[in-house]
């Protein structure tokens, strides 16, 4: 049984009277790519923000056994900074400038690291965000909708980068609502609907459980069920 580097137990979070997370529990194992699937406003971002200590929660437990790096949704860094400058300035003390350069190279930004961020495409900004998340030398990467708003090529580059990082032993926890991306890249997935975790497991398990021929069908069946009162 692989070691769980992220453990969430019965996490409950409300904004005023609105309950956004309702007793959510997940384990994320070392070295895996875990995808959190859910419709808009299902609670994906809230779960990630609670995990990172950016939000306080009412009840439940969260334990992280390794350092995290984070890419927020719709990440828009300072336009008047150069790509490399952002990494150099944000890096932690155990990360050298050479290491930052190698992170930029891995993110496919070696040739554009001296350019201003305002000249970057959306896909380049997302990859820069992932490189930035790696600049604390984390074992766990938390990526909130890393492919949102990207064209197919941009999506492929980000997903390829995630595979490379998995190969380096990183644990990746990302959220998405683009189902086509999930099948090819993630080891396990969780489906969250209206603040409840309605499925946890591998894609094949989900397809088998729902008797569905595609992930899209299985997702609609799973998330749709929880919509019914």
């Amino acid at each position: 049984m692989p070691k769980a580097v992220v453990r969430v137990r019965d996490l409950t979070k409300s904004f005023g009277k609105l309950r956004v997370l309702n007793k959510v529990s997940i384990d994320i194992h070392e070295g895996e790519i875990f995808c959190l699937l859910g419709a808009n406003a299902a609670g994906k971002t809230t779960l990630m923000r609670c995990l990172l200590g950016l939000l306080k929660f009412q009840s439940g437990e969260i334990s992280l056994s390794a350092k995290t790096g984070f890419l927020p949704e719709n990440f828009s860094p300072y336009r008047y900074f150069r790509g490399k400058e952002l990494l150099y300035d944000f890096r932690t003390k155990n990360i050298s400038k050479e290491k930052c350069d190698s992170l930029l190279e891995m993110a496919g930004l070696a040739l554009s690291k001296d350019r201003y961020i305002r000249e970057y495409s959306r896909g380049m900004i997302q990859r820069l965000g992932i490189a930035l998340a790696l600049s604390t030398d984390p074992e766990i990467l938390v990526l909130d909708e890393p492919t949102l708003g990207l064209d197919p090529l941009g999506q492929k580059q980000v997903l390829d980068l995630m595979r490379v990082l998995k190969g380096q032993g990183k644990t990746i926890f990302f959220s998405s609502h683009i189902l086509s991306q999930v099948e090819g890249v993630c080891d396990r997935l969780g489906i969250i609907s209206h603040g409840r975790m309605v499925f946890l497991g591998a894609v094949e398990e989900l397809l088998k459980k729902k008797g569905a021929s595609s992930l899209e069908e299985a997702f609609i069946l799973t998330a749709g069920e929880s919509d019914c009162p």
Binding site: R49, L52, G53, L54, L55, K56, T68, G69, F70, P72, E73, N74, F75, S76, P77, Y78, Y80, F81, E85, D89, F90, T92, K93, L132, T136
Partner: protein, 253 residues
């Protein structure tokens, strides 16, 4: 400490690349130009008019640029999710202190550039007094307090405009509260005198940093007055920053 300096350095670089920074330098240059024209038509001591109006213009443009930059950068970090990036890797008090020191440095650079432009104009008119350096330093002290208020409001007010207006209100209130207290003392009821006395103590006494007129006449403040003013500005800013830190720790961003 390294983290605080990193955040301060990022804020400083960001500030120097802001359009508003250069816009304010242009604004101050226009004020200097107007000042020059006023100096030409002024009756009496033209040098005194140049020094007095120039210092007032420098203070006005410095207040506008630094308060705006402080609030705008905070608001933009919220909108662009950079705040999440900061808070996921730095402690909250590190972020606040770093941001404060960064804008503090931007303010210092702005005042330095302003002082050079202003001094050149005065040298040209043979109207430069070294006491003006003290005048600019006291503007800086005033801004230190004001920046702490801007940061304080930014931690819990999501509307940038409201936070800006409140900070400017503190600036105006702090600048006129001594005069207002004098008027109340002469004409107010005992109850209003009682309340206003505490109100005066609570608000920053920015009038204590108001030495523009004195330095325009070439009178520099005594060292003891400078020392007390520095201690007051740092202590007051420290107090406001501590409250801002408490709020920032509690409030979800």
């Amino acid at each position: 400490m390294r983290n605080i300096l990193s955040i301060a350095s990022i804020t400083f670089k960001e500030g120097l690349r802001e359009k508003v920074f250069y816009g304010s330098i242009i604004l101050f240059s226009l004020i200097l130009l107007l000042n020059y024209i006023l100096g030409q038509i002024a009756y009496g001591d033209q040098g005194k008019v140049l020094r007095d109006v120039g210092l007032a213009g420098l203070e006005l443009s410095a207040v506008l640029v630094t308060v705006f930059f402080m609030l705008n950068s905070f608001w933009r970090d919220r909108e662009s999710k950079m705040l999440d990036v900061y808070l996921s890797r730095f402690l909250r008090h590190e972020f606040l202190l770093g941001r404060f020191l960064g804008v503090f440095s931007v303010t210092a650079v702005f005042l330095f550039i302003g002082l050079i432009c202003f001094s050149l104009l005065l040298f040209f008119h043979k109207a430069f007094y070294f006491s003006l350096l003290a005048g600019v330093f006291f503007i800086f002290l005033k801004l230190v307090i004001l920046l702490s208020f801007a940061l304080f409001f930014a931690t819990f007010i999501s509307s940038q405009v409201l936070a800006y207006l409140l900070t400017i209100a503190v600036y105006i209130t702090g600048s006129i509260s001594r005069n207002a207290l004098d008027i109340i003392n002469q004409e107010g009821s005992p109850l209003s005198i009682f309340f206003f006395k505490y109100f005066y103590l609570l608000f920053p006494n920015l009038d204590k940093f108001e030495i523009k007129l004195a330095v325009a006449y070439g009178n520099a403040p005594q060292f003891s007055y400078v020392a007390i003013s520095v201690i007051y500005a740092l202590a007051y800013a420290g107090f406001v920053l501590s409250i801002a830190n408490l709020i920032f720790k509690i409030k979800e961003q």
